[in-house]
Structures are given as structure tokens and as C-alpha cells.
């Protein structure tokens, strides 16, 4: 199963992947664990996830084609 990953700000300098095969991963908690294992520096950054253009506040199931955004703290304005 493949999902799309987009990342922003300083995380875009760290996590540079676009498509990810997530066989064995079924939700955002699992994805988070996987990403932090591959990119250990991610553990040091506060970040939020958006799933299909919606910010998520709890673990959410992933499906084929899901779009997950990894977002460091906002700094607009």
C-alpha cells in the first residue's frame, strides 16, 4: 500500500520522501513510529500531521493513496 508524504519548513530539509510503501503500517501512529525510526531527528521537533488536508488530533487509519503532511510549528505572519 502506498501513501503520499509531504513535509514543510525545517522538516522538509529532514524528511525528503514523496511516496512511501507502508505495508505493515495501518494508521498514523504506526507511520509516526516508522518515520521517527528512519529520521531520528524528527523526535526532537514538535510537529503535527494532516491527513488528506485535515489536521488530525488522534490516531487515524491510513488507506492506499492517503496524503500525509508533516508540519513543524507554524510561523506565519
Amino acid at each position: 500500500m502506498e501513501i503520499e508524504i509531504i513535509s514543510f519548513g525545517k522538516i522538509a530539509e529532514l524528511v525528503n520522501l514523496k511516496n512511501l510503501n507502508i505495508d505493515g503500517i495501518k494508521d498514523t501512529d504506526g507511520l509516526q513510529k516508522h518515520l521517527e525510526a528512519v529520521f531520528p531527528k524528527l523526535k526532537e521537533i514538535k510537529y503535527k500531521l494532516a491527513l488528506n488536508k485535515q489536521i488530525i488530533h488522534a490516531n487515524s487509519p491510513l488507506t492506499s493513496g492517503s496524503v500525509v503532511a508533516i508540519m513543524p510549528p507554524f510561523s506565519g505572519g
Partner: protein, 156 residues
């Protein structure tokens, strides 16, 4: 037909863009103000302008901020903020513009503009919009130093 028309209105409302490429010019702001002279029910306008500061960080000075955003999510979030603020305050108008790309120190990167019959709702709505824009919109500022090195801005 009516349904389609309604859908078109909804769509247009949804995709209201706040992003402009580069700095927001004083002329753009003047045009926006001048457009309200026909709205003679308005008694007060409140405006907030964010300007890029030449902060000194570890003896290096910020020359510009390069803004990126998760645009689709930002516009959806802004749509919600707009609805919330319009239903909380009796406003005549609300306009929000935010820069993308490079904005030099001394240039304007955020323009929030609210208008109402009496001054208080315009002022309170403007304050609330600025707070929410900074806290809730997925926008990131990369502070670029004179030597081309950078660091990522963090809002307090």
C-alpha cells in the same frame, strides 16, 4: 440550476485566496482602503500589518523571510476562521492577505483589514484574526541572513 448556482457560490467562497507572491505594497493597501469609500455604513476600520524585522541572531542579521505554506490546508483553515469571526462580530468587511516567497526586511508580509459600523468590533476582530492566523495557519517563515545562511522562524 439553482443548486448549481449555489454550488458555484459556495465554491467561490471556499477558494478565497489570501496568498500574494512577495511583499504587500503600500499601494495595494491604499487601493484596499479606497475601495471602502462606497460602503457608507462603515464607521471604523482596523488594520494590522506584519513587517519583516531585521532581527540580529548570533551576530547575523535577518535580510529577508522566505514564506512557504501548505496552501490548500491554510485556505481551508482560513475559511473556518473567517466564518467564526464573522459570526462573532458584526463586521461589514474582512480582508486577509499573506505573502509567499521572499519578503525583505522592512517590507509587509501580512495585511489584516476589518471594518464595522462602530469601532470596537473591527478592532477586536482584527486582533483575534491576527492571533488565529499566526497560531492556526500552516505557514512557515525561513529567515535568510545576509550571508545566505538561514534558520526557521518560530512564532512566540
Amino acid at each position: 440550476m439553482e443548486k448549481l448556482f449555489h454550488l458555484l457560490i459556495m465554491t467561490e467562497k471556499k477558494i478565497k485566496n489570501i496568498f500574494v507572491q512577495g511583499a504587500i505594497s503600500a499601494d495595494f493597501i491604499a487601493d484596499s482602503i479606497a475601495k471602502h469609500s462606497s460602503k457608507t455604513e462603515i464607521g471604523g476600520h482596523s488594520i494590522f500589518l506584519g513587517q519583516v524585522r531585521a532581527d540580529e541572531i548570533d551576530e547575523k542579521q535577518v535580510a529577508a523571510i522566505d514564506y512557504t505554506a501548505y496552501e490548500e490546508l491554510a485556505l481551508a483553515q482560513m475559511h473556518q476562521i473567517r466564518e467564526d469571526v464573522f459570526s462573532k462580530y458584526p463586521l461589514s468587511c474582512m480582508h486577509v492577505h499573506h505573502s509567499l516567497g521572499v519578503v525583505n526586511a522592512g517590507e509587509i508580509c501580512l495585511f489584516v483589514f476589518t471594518s464595522s459600523k462602530h469601532r470596537k468590533p473591527a478592532m477586536d476582530a482584527c486582533d483575534e484574526l491576527v492571533e488565529r492566523i499566526k497560531a492556526e495557519l500552516p505557514i512557515w517563515g525561513k529567515e535568510i541572513f545576509a550571508d545566505a545562511s538561514h534558520q526557521w522562524k518560530e512564532n512566540k
